[in-house]
């Protein structure tokens, strides 16, 4: 633990990433003075250790050397964290919706409209406990839906998400919102059926950085932005890798509709492709290879299954349409000559594909198809031969697996499981579950609903063949919601439907607990004030920094703001009222949980608890023999018979036998991957007549200046030109990138306010005219902090998830679709809107932070 230095500064260590689930990253040094956060800096490994005595890894390739950095590679979000802690949007005391009366009229229709009043902790905990008891007695505990999964701060003892699951478990279970593998949709529901690769369907990562450094000559950043997506958990570690690869002379080709932030600085070549048309491009590449004899026929013969079926489809023998580059050009917007050039170059070079998840490539309608086709293309060029493979630029060591780490293997992969009190990604033992993507449908449907798969990230692919239903036999419909993850509306599929569900009379009570008054919180009946990790004592790891794994003791930096408590403590208040406090806490103090965490972290035989507390962090060296780890798919490449893949045939399946067996007639995910412009579930293609009404495709990546919905109220970020666009009314709108050609046709210039709309509603945005987006496409990040115009219909902040498709990836795949869908775009007159919606457009507002609390809390401006 840190002592004050001569200047009165006390130093702490905290992980500052936003992955949740106890998976820490961005370990930082926090200086605190006079009870306030003074500064946040990278953790220097040598602060407390003689790092010359700690084993280092070293990758030497092409005469150059790559080594760990001497400090953690923090990204921009770590430096602004104090804004989040001291945000005027912090909820400082419990709140109750003014017209929600549990003894009388509950007014569910006013959720998202009515304001809140302050109540005491005692009253709030009592109200919640009473509601839980009433609902449990009337309907059974499964009538309570618990939403407690990611997208938040990263803590251990204090959750932050899913602490209420432990309490509900003591009451007999509940309905659990099963967090589907968002951002991995195409891999999870598609690629798994081609090459196995549980847990999430992305390729084996082991030792790929060394392999690529030594052998790769070209990398495809396909729908991949290593300068953006990893910022929330990994900081600048991916950016370092990009520079390293370039230093080695590896050529970077970015394939994406937008000149994303990595393409803008790293790409040797940008190939703009229309959103969610990558499957057509991929098929045309396969066509070129097949017709020009440019693929590894021997590998295909020995390592794959069903190629002939695929070949028939590609050559047009199945449907009469040859998947030529010219055919693809019209669909994907890439000139045929560029497709051919790319195909030939790929065949000539040693190619690895880089990924960061997200975007239209892997999170759109029928994402299974590009997800699978990519694997097939890799196979056609001999996947597993030196320098090939699929590199993930972040989420290294996820799921506690060394095989998910492309960098040198660590001697220990530490975890906080012994301290962690939040949700884990496992099917519930008691009660029932609903995939997160289907929650609105489940609530709004008068009939039972069914789907395939538990859908949790990490479950084996065979689970996708099991059918589940809601309500489960013996379980209730949902009548109460308890969420600590209040960003469904702005991060999942079809937020306007969720708003409709939240306002349904079926839902008698909505409890939200959160540090900030934002997003779904506006629909609560009771809100509990939660504090940030700087106000708590905890344990953490940092496993995403790309240098060394760390285990941190996180001291309490500052006193909790207002009456806020941690998620763990907030649930404990309710537990007290239910007489379950001892059971809930297992009679352990926070400090005891931390000690338990340390003991199970994997480092307790290397350093004493006392020394670890005193030093504040522990550095795990790389494993001594890491260089011998076989990279990626090398074992399979060398000997497929003895190192089979986890597919029914043990091979890469061009024809997915599992899908053929279980879903033989599924036209939306056939055994051989297809180009599916539209179908039963979705009509979001320029090939479909709907595009006459909504002529643009929208790209919505993981945001550049937020982590999903987090950080939208940070003044220092909101000043950045690509973060917000100032409208004529002074409001900071979420940027909408529009190509100059389209802007001219629409009569729009930078700074104008535009409306993005389709049959699911409309949101506003600030026009940002740019060459960074291709014509016919607009780009707007997701996750802006809700500023509702008509709840369930329209929003001023530009939170476009409200209007993305409600239907899932495809009929039998419960993934989300949040990018690459049809919208119309038009210029609006803000003054006219102001007249139409005076209350909304005159909400108390500060451009630095966004909408003021006074808009929602009676007396909130006091």
């Amino acid at each position: 633990m840190s002592e004050k230095n001569s200047k009165g500064i006390k130093t702490y260590y905290k992980s500052t990433g936003f992955c949740s689930f106890g998976i820490g990253s961005e370990a930082a040094q926090i200086d605190v003075k006079d009870g306030k956060i003074l500064r946040i800096r990278p953790l220097r490994y040598d602060s407390k250790y003689d790092t010359s005595k700690i084993r280092k890894w070293k990758i030497t390739a092409r005469g150059k050397t790559f080594e760990p950095y001497n400090k953690t590679p923090l990204g921009p979000f770590s430096y602004v964290y104090e804004n989040r802690v001291y945000s005027p949007n912090r909820i400082l005391y419990p709140l109750k919706r003014v017209d929600w009366d549990p003894e009388g009229e509950r007014n569910p229709q006013n959720r998202g409209k009515s304001k809140f009043v302050r109540i005491s902790w005692d009253e709030a905990a009592e109200l919640i406990a009473k509601e839980i008891k009433r609902v449990c007695e009337k309907y059974g505990p499964t009538a309570v839906l618990v939403q407690g999964d990611g997208h938040g701060e990263t803590k251990a003892v204090h959750g932050p998400h899913g602490c209420q699951l432990a309490l509900m478990d003591l009451l007999g279970g509940c309905t659990v919102q099963a967090r589907q593998p968002d951002s991995w949709e195409g891999w999870y529901w598609g690629a798994k059926h081609v090459w196995g690769q549980d847990p999430v369907g992305q390729g084996r990562q082991a030792n790929l950085v060394k392999d690529i450094s030594e052998n790769t000559t070209m990398m495809l950043f396909w729908g991949c932005d290593p300068e953006t997506t990893p910022l929330g958990w990994g900081g600048m570690s991916a950016s370092r890798l990009c520079f390293w690869f370039r230093e080695l002379g590896i050529k970077i080709v970015s394939i994406c509709p937008d000149l994303n932030y990595a393409a803008a600085v790293h790409a040797d070549k940008w190939i703009p492709v229309l959103p969610n048309t990558d499957a057509a491009l991929q098929l045309a590449i396969a066509y070129t290879w097949i017709t020009e004899d440019l693929y590894d026929k021997e590998y295909v013969a020995t390592h794959t299954y069903g190629f002939e079926e695929f070949k028939k489809y590609v050559l047009g023998e199945e449907d009469g349409i040859a998947k030529t580059p010219k055919w693809a050009e019209k669909i994907c917007g890439v000139p045929a000559r560029i497709i051919k050039a790319l195909a030939r170059k790929w065949a000539k070079e040693t190619v690895a594909i880089g990924h960061c998840n997200g975007g239209s490539y892997i999170r759109s309608c029928y994402a299974t198809e590009p997800g699978r086709l990519e694997v097939l293309l890799l196979a056609m060029q001999g996947l597993g031969k030196p320098g090939t493979g699929q590199l993930k630029f972040f989420e290294w060591q996820l799921f506690g697996l060394h095989e998910q780490n492309p960098l040198p293997r660590s001697e220990v992969l530490p975890s906080v499981e012994g301290a962690y009190r939040g949700a884990i990604l496992q099917p519930p033992e008691k009660g029932q579950f609903i995939p997160k993507t289907l929650i609105p449908k489940a609530i709004l449907s008068d009939e039972p609903i069914s789907w395939y798969g538990v859908t949790l990230a990490g479950l084996p692919k065979e689970d996708q063949f099991n059918e589940y239903r809601y309500p489960e036999v013996g379980c209730s419909e949902i009548h109460m919601i308890w969420s600590d993850t209040p960003c469904w509306s702005v991060c999942w599929n079809g937020g306007n439907k969720w708003i409709e569900a939240l306002r349904s009379p079926k839902i008698e009570c909505v409890v939200m607990q959160h540090p900030w008054l934002e997003n779904d919180c506006l629909f609560a009946d009771i809100i509990l004030p939660i504090n940030t990790k700087f106000e708590e004592e905890d344990i953490s790891v940092d496993i995403f920094n790309g240098n060394y794994n760390l285990v941190l003791y996180e001291g309490q930096c500052i006193e909790p703001l207002g009456e806020s408590k941690s998620d763990y403590e907030a649930v404990a208040e309710v537990a007290k009222k239910l007489g379950l406090y001892e059971q809930y806490t297992q009679s352990k103090t926070v400090k005891e949980w931390i000690k338990n965490g340390f003991e199970k972290s994997g480092i307790s035989d290397r350093i004493s608890y006392e020394e670890w507390l005193e030093k504040g962090y522990y550095i795990v060296p790389p494993a001594e023999d890491w260089e011998n780890d076989e990279p990626g798919f090398s074992p399979f490449y060398k000997d497929p018979e003895n190192n089979p893949l986890d597919t029914p045939t043990g091979k890469i399946e061009f024809y997915a036998t599992g899908l053929a067996k279980h879903f033989p007639d599924d036209e939306e995910r056939p055994p051989v991957p297809h180009w599916i412009p539209y179908g039963e579930s979705h009509q979001e293609s320029l090939q479909h007549p709907r595009s006459e009404k909504y002529p643009f495709l929208i790209v919505s990546n993981h945001p550049r200046w937020r982590v999903h919905a987090q950080l939208d109220d940070v003044p220092w970020l909101r000043e950045i030109p690509t973060c917000k666009v100032k409208g004529p009314d002074g409001y900071l709108y979420e940027p909408v990138w529009i190509n100059s050609v389209d802007a001219k046709n629409l009569g729009v210039k930078t700074g104008d306010v535009v409306k993005i709309f389709n049959d699911r509603g409309w949101v506003l945005g600030g026009a940002y005219v740019t060459e960074r987006i291709m014509p016919g496409v607009v780009y707007q990040d997701h996750g802006a902090r809700l500023d509702l115009i008509e709840p369930g219909e329209s929003d001023r902040s530009g939170s476009n998830n409200l209007i993305c498709p409600t239907n899932t990836t495809s009929k039998n795949c419960a993934g989300e679709v949040t990018s690459g869908y049809l919208v119309g775009v038009e210029k609006v007159d803000v003054e006219e809107l102001k007249k139409e919606y005076p209350e909304v457009f005159n909400r108390p507002y500060d451009a630095r932070y966004g909408v003021d609390q006074a808009a929602w809390i009676i007396g909130g401006d006091e």
């Binding site: 003074l38 500064r39 946040i40 800096r41 990278p42 950095y69 590679p73 923090l74 990204g75 921009p76 430096y79 602004v80 104090e82 300068e227 910022l231 900081g235 600048m236 950016s239 370092r240 990009c242 520079f243 000149l259 932030y261 990595a262 803008a264 600085v265 790293h266 070549k269 940008w270 190939i271 703009p272 010219k326 000139p335 045929a336 000559r337 560029i338 051919k340 050039a341 790319l342 030939r344 170059k345 003044p715 220092w716 970020l717 909101r718 000043e719 950045i720 030109p721 690509t722 190509n739 100059s740 740019t770 060459e771 960074r772 987006i773 291709m774 014509p775 630095r848």
Partner: protein, 270 residues
Amino acid sequence: MKVFVIDVAKCTGCYSCQLACKNEHVGKDWTPYAKPQPKTGHFWMKINETEHGSIPKVKVEYRPMLCMHCDDANCIKAAKDGAVYRRDDGLVIIDPEKAKGQKQLVEACPYGAIYWNEELNIPQKCTGCAHLVDEGEVPRCVDACVHEAIKFGEEEELADLIAEAEVVQPELGLRPRVYYLNLPGFFVAGDVYDPISDEIIEGAEITLKNKQTGESWTTKSDDFGDFWFKRLKSGQYSLDIKVKGYKPVQLSDIAVDKSVNVGSLSLERE
């Protein structure tokens, strides 16, 4: 004497330098070097971003800009009562007490590096984190840059880099102590193809000539048919394309006052 050397080729536009600067200075009092910076509106370290080219030949340039700590600083001359001074180590400091009310200092800086603090009635700017430098540490922007694009140190130690570097607006003659490496200038880019075969043309000989200076550069189109000429100064240029079997093409008048994508050029067979 301290200098900054900034390599823009290593800048990805993550804004960590700008944000770490705010983390150090917004609401934090480092008297005698600086009073607290306001919550928003000041950029003592500022990333300027410029979009170059047109689809699909587009690049974004990021340039971290801060007080240039000029040897012949205009602000020192414009200050009354010695309100702006240069430390022995070269860092130029606005004394927050003496500078009260001296709004003319904002205008005095041709680099726009001085900001007005309305609430405190003082001009403010980058101090080079003098309070940290005094303790043997580096400025926060330097610490925050993972890629070490921003270097800070003694002039002699960084002499090799300085030899290759340039300063912004050298014509002002203010002798800035902030040097830049790899400023990208402008580019001229395009690609060539054969419309009959619908194929890109690799290996075409492309020559770009600056019509004013007579300087010229030659390159070959790559395996996407692309060609790039980078780090160009503004001026009038001409472009010649020669490839065996095709009629030569000349674009005789390319005005480069920004980066130019001449587009996809179809070549006619002989």
